[in-house]
Amino acid sequence: MPTVIVNNKPVEIGASERLNCIQAAERVGVEIPHYCYHHDLSVVASCRMCLVEMGDKKPDGTIAMQPKLFPGCQTPVKDGTVIVTDSKKVKDAQKATLEYLLLNHPLDCPVCDQAGECGLQDYSYEYGRGYSRLQEPKNIKPDKDYIGDQITLFTDRCIMCTRCVRFTREISGTAELQVVSRGTHEEIDIFPGDPCNNKLAGNVVDLCPVGALCSKDFLYEQRVWWLKSKNSVCPGCSTGCSINVDQNNDVLYRLKPRENPQAQGAFMCDEGRFGWKYVHADNRLTLPEQRANGQIISKNWDAILPAVRNALKEAALRAPNKFAAVISPWATVEEAYLLATYVRKLSPTAKLAIGPIRTVGEDDLYPKDVHGKPVTPTKFTIHAEKCPNRRGVEAVLKQIQGSVIEFSSVLNQVSKGEIEALYVLGGDPEGWIADADVIKLDKLKLLVVQDLLASAASAKAQFVLPGGAWAEKDGTFVNFKGLAQAIHRGLRGPGEARPDGRILMELSEKPGMFQAPALRKEIAKAVPALAALSVGDLGELGVPLETAAAKSELQPA
Amino acid sequence: MLDKLINLFPEPARPYVAPILAIVIVLNVNLGVCSYLILLERKLSAWMQDRHGPNRVGPWGLLQPLADMGKLLLKEDVIPGHVNKVLFVLAPGISVFTTFLAFAVVPFGPVPSNLTPGDGQFPFIIAPGVDLGIVFIFAIGSLAVYGIILGGWASNNKYSALGCLRASAQVVSYEIPLGMSVVGLAMLNSSMSIEKIMTNQVDQGFIGWNIWYQPLACVIFFIAAMAEAQRLPFDLAECEQELIGGWHTEYSAMKWGLFFLAEYTHVITISFLTSILFFGGWHFPFIAEATSNYTGATAVKVAVLLSKVFAVIIVIQMLRWTIPRFRFDQLMGLAWKGLIPLATVNVLLVMIVKQFDLHTLWLFPLSIAAFVAAGLMATQSSRPFAIKAKLPVEGHGHGHHVHAH
């Protein structure tokens, strides 16, 4: 095994691994500061922040150090490489580099959105000199008026790491951003008339180590140190990007991609990044409702839950074959399992359908070439299937019912009068029924809608149960390739809205509170395709459901 | 003048007129004086602490006692649900009753020696001719603590219970030096009648004041009497830091007020006793001698006595705002290790003087000598009466430790 020595500590690396100094040092917990380097982008070694002392350990045990410093991001390591990151020489270099980077950087941290998560602040504190010796006026470049719909550029704060430029060239392939001018006049800009509006543009804000590129959506909304973060999964499409949900006082402010090589990598698309606004929409359902003859009878959970329970029991007794439940592919695995088992307990012949699976266009692959055609290797995919958990819900339904019924067939049966009672577990912010089809629901004797947003269907329902958006609940999403990831409750829902898992738990009178890890263990026993959930805690990266049996089960029908 | 008043009444009622008049005067004056003494104390403490004190009600706050009284009367009188109701209500009454009762044998002016009922002389004492006057006062005065114990016990509250236990322990301990300190007086005067002790002093003039014969007894009496009255620095039964309000934690409104009325009456009583027993009563050289017979001499005599009482009260009040409260073990130590032995020695000295027929003035240097001897004993390097704390020896850090105290 090749061994690298970092600050006198040996690091073993794999024989075929190709690591640079930064990655090798990370293995022993040594941080080599860097700005321009990003593991998903090409190496330019332009910021000079990662300069380290390097040397070779000869077979006879002597060490020969190189006289000059090397950029750690650009220098691969091999057996016997010696890296020193804490010598006076290196520290002086870091101080000098930071002083240079700060020469023209305005000290407007109070008004800068990046303050608190800024690479310059962090490294200045950790490695910097603490004061500047500059006597000349700072070179203040005017801010760009417009470089894109979602991003804004404060040119004066830029340290020219060019991460954003490389991102648009290598990951999105759209190459809108470029470096113009030379030397101290260097700045980031767009080509005239060609703004940076690709579907991955938001990522340059995350990539920017300073406050130069800011998200227009989040600009001046909150100071970042007030945000509380929870791990979650983007529900925008079946890619299932790992994300952080950043909220304060139950207001969601932004989503940020969380690096997960098993899921999507380090990025996320703008559709998901800015597509959460329905969480705070005005037409969120905030109170449970019970209706009879179009009149609202009750808005009280304590009264409505038993009423729903009784109504379902009666309906199941009256016509056990005319009883159906629809589970949206936006529901978590736990919710699907709770509802499916509950409905089947009431009526063993009840029909279980998956909600409508919304697809928009084709899978969108990145990077693209100048003509907009995808280029291999694919580095990022925006899936056409705009729901986060089709595979999870299908796995549950297949186990409990044997097959998955499409929503359209249920709708047909409803219009023919073959179904009298329908329980709908929604969650899709775009709705689960077309306006033209709403009239078909009139034939139902009982309609229970558990959903996020008010709709024509929820207006018809006898019972409306306000559920939680994905950021408001715990659970599991299974993405397109069978990776089960945990989502966590980041904020509380509006009004009396409750997490769907809790509603179903109370409705089915299951003992205990809704706890996703415990429920996952139960599901793993009951549903072999989801046996991988038996770990309970899925960790930050999620668990692939990749046993052979699970794989065959998960093949799209 | 008094004759005319008495003659207004039918014959059978006449013997009672003067005593009833005395009772009425004493009770009412006492009540009024108490409330203004409280104002005085508040003002005095304010001046000591560079404050203004009560100054909002009336000029210089002079109507403050009335406002306080009105407040106490109008406040909600809470009787908590968990108390023993009968005893709870009874306790403040007992306190006030006993302290006023003790005043019965205290002369507040030149008591006529040839007093017969109905002869038209104002008695200047409610119950004249009680030969056991001192014993009566001590007996009744220590009953006042009965009210405190009842109140604390009936409150059914741990702070109250602790407070009343402290009060009883304190009163039991300080009864002894209080009683012992006047044994010498009784022996010197061959009497326990307060009037007689006063008259004896007055007859001998300035040199006859008992302070010259019993200085040590005077100090012991004064300290023990303050402890009996639960005055700071001896008010451990109600110390706020540890016991909230002590025995009166659960009391409010006028019931609470009655307790403090009792305390103040007690203060007045002991001030009278100190002035009468040790400072010659109404005697003052030249202006109030036994032979003074000028017009208004009686008024002057009363004024002299009251001035002495007032001076003692002022001293008591100033002591309250000067000396911090004792710790309970210090309180007990003072009684049992200081006052009781000294009082015993004092009695012994009186016995020696009487037995060997020495001049009674010998008692002055002897008392001082006893006091000095006691002080010297306390400062002896060997300190035979002090408990030496065992200190850990250097280098034997893990040895047995006893907390120094």
């Binding site: 006076k88 520290k91 002086d92 101080k95 305005p106 000290l107 407007d108 941290c109 109070p110 008004v111 303050a115 504190y125 950790e126 490695y127 910097g128 000199r129 603490g130 004061y131 500047s132 010796r133 500059l134 006597q135 000349e136 006026p137 700072k138 203040i140 008026d145 404060f154 600009l219 001046y220 909304e221 100071r223 140190w225 007030w226 | 005095l44 001046w47 000591m48 602490q49 560079d50 404050r51 203004h52 100033m318 002591l319 000067t322 000396i323 006091f371 006691a374 002080g375 010297l376 306390a378 400062t379 390097s381 300190r383 704390a389 200190l391 850990p392 850090g397 893990h398 430790h401 120094a404």
Partner: protein, 215 residues
């Protein structure tokens, strides 16, 4: 954790001398001290409602939001005060400075609304300490009254009016310089003045061959 006996200093009370043992001098001394206060009565009480209170120079009263020379609100909505506030009584909503308005050309961010709940505030002065542009200050106004809780929520206009009211009082600009913007908001002039961070003459880390990291 029990205290190590080695760490305990055992102290014995010092032996008393003769006079101390009698306690009399101590009592007399005490009476003399308390009596002296009675006879030489100099009250420290201020008769507040009748006479105006004589406040110390560092008194912290009602807040104000300062204006710069152009009359704009000095605050840059960095929310440092809200972050520092232990009572959480400051609520700021920021907005982007109007780009086309030349009046705001040199500013990126300003407060859209700035509300201080004067009832929640504990007047600790942390907001003043935290402010990087010397925009928020506590004034000498102490007689703060209102008829409703709503009235005690001071918004931006009200806070600016407090500034207008107190700027010439002579008492209030004692802590920060009045008029000019603080160092963070007028960064464009800053570099000509010298090092961004003032280096104190006797700062050893500045003199060292390899200046140390200031932690």
């Amino acid at each position: 954790m029990p205290i190590n006996p080695k760490d305990v200093d055992w102290v014995e009370e010092p032996p008393m001398n003769f006079w101390e043992a009698t306690f009399l001098p101590a009592v007399v001394d005490g009476l003399r001290a308390t009596g002296h206060h009675v006879t030489h009565f100099k009250p420290v009480t201020q008769m507040y409602p009748e006479e105006a209170a004589d406040l110390p120079r560092h008194y912290r009263g009602v807040h104000r939001l300062n204006r710069d020379d152009a009359g704009r609100v000095k605050c840059v909505a960095c929310m440092m005060c809200a972050t520092a506030c232990p009572a959480r009584c400051i609520d700021i909503v920021a907005q982007e400075a109007p780009k086309d308005d030349p009046k705001w050309a040199d500013r990126d961010k300003l407060p859209n609304s700035f509300v201080i709940d004067e009832l929640k505030c504990i007047y600790c002065g942390m907001c003043e300490e935290a402010c990087p542009v010397d925009a928020i200050e506590l004034t000498h106004i102490y007689d703060l009254t209102g008829m409703s809780r709503q009235e005690m929520l001071f918004d931006k206009e009200k806070l600016l009016s407090v500034f207008d009211q107190t700027k010439d009082s002579g008492l209030d600009p004692i802590r920060t310089h009045k008029g000019r913007l603080g160092p963070a908001s007028d960064f464009q002039q800053l570099p000509t003045l010298g090092p961004a961070t003032t280096v104190v003459g006797d700062d050893r880390s500045a003199k060292a061959a390899s200046p140390g990291v200031i932690k």
